[in-house]
Symmetry: C2
Subunit: 224 residues, 2 copies
């Protein structure tokens, strides 16, 4: 065989590039499409409310037909559940990262406050705040409440440790955790992207007020 023939045979043996994606790529595409369905749904729930949003609205914003949606999600209830679950999971992962980073309790507490304040300005986090628990199907509500409760417990634990290390004022950690969660959750109710402040600026300002308090503290008296 001549060199040319060998090259031709080798070329013939090389597989034709398939116009279909291979299995891992298909799974990835499917996941990306499912993510787009959930994000779009979360945005619409946040804008109009859960009950005022239809699957048709979600499909229209994605330029697909309603039957296409059913390839990625079962129904509107399942979409809401997935949105809220993602918001909670993102928060818990952020809190876990702050814990791994270690350091003083007050630093961990501030890191968790930053995570929480940031997530409630994002689609899934905002959904967590704007759509009430009672709108989620009863059998899933228990799981979501468990996840919410772990976030709450983490804030209480860090507040209690902060009191022990002397960085946090003597308090009832349960009530203090509620004050923190309330002020930060509220951001998810009023925040509008593209407004006066960026999401980070809002978070910093609210956290600073929570930490230092509303009152002006008397300047410490200086020894002359």
């Amino acid at each position: 065989m001549t060199d040319t023939t060998t090259r031709k045979k080798q070329q013939a043996r090389a597989p034709v590039a398939s116009p279909w994606a291979d299995a891992p790529a298909r799974a990835e595409q499917r996941e990306a499409k499912r993510d787009a369905v959930l994000s779009t749904a979360a945005q619409l729930f946040n804008e109009r409310g859960f009950h005022a949003t239809s699957l048709d609205d979600i499909a229209a914003r994605l330029h697909v037909s309603k039957p296409t949606l059913y390839y990625y999600v079962k129904n509107k209830d399942e979409i809401l559940l997935q949105c809220v679950r993602r918001g909670l999971t993102m928060t818990l992962e952020g809190i876990e990262a702050s814990r791994q980073a270690g350091g003083k309790a007050i630093d961990q507490l501030q890191a968790c406050m930053r995570v929480y304040a940031r997530i409630v300005t994002m689609d899934f986090g905002m959904c967590l705040i704007r759509v009430g628990d009672e709108q989620v199907p009863a059998d899933s509500r228990k799981e979501l409440r468990r996840l919410k409760s772990s976030i709450d417990q983490e804030f209480r634990r860090l507040v209690a440790e902060g009191v022990k290390e002397g960085s946090v004022a003597e308090c009832d950690p349960k009530m203090t955790a509620f004050v923190i969660a309330g002020a930060l959750s509220w951001i998810g109710r009023w925040y509008q992207p593209g407004g006066e402040y960026s999401a980070d600026e809002v978070a910093e300002k609210c956290i600073a007020t929570l930490l230092a308090g509303v009152l002006r503290h008397p300047a410490p008296m200086l020894v002359p």
Copy 2:
């Protein structure tokens, strides 16, 4: 005519006590019944959510038929609107009373915080927090947002005056008002009557934390 005849004639002229209430009493009864319908509805909305509550549920809890309800209210949308409007009106009246009482801005601010924290633990106020704006019919939403905005403006005004009088720390009054409203509104989300603390205790603890801040402040250095 004898005395007896005169007395008999006079007795005949005295009107028989009517078993029907007179007009003012009827109006009062009607108002009390309408109040009961609204309070019961607010309780059910807070327990189950607006969409999960039917007029039949409201009628059942009041031991009346659904047609009886229609004598007092038009439909479920109107009930929700009235509940939220009452919550807002109670808050604005309380704020107005604190303003009338006068005094330093910080005292007025604390009085308003107390009013707000107390109202969100009550049926109509809780409804205001738990049921999202987007569930109210579109044409009434504007009015409710205007009322909500006046509460917000009042908090911002008092914070700004507090900064001027030196009682409140230098801040962005808009953000500080949001932190206050958020932490106090959150009470309406988690508070359960009959729990560990009374509504007043919860209000006092949350307000104290908001005013003094989460951090432990260094004790002022004493001149020896």
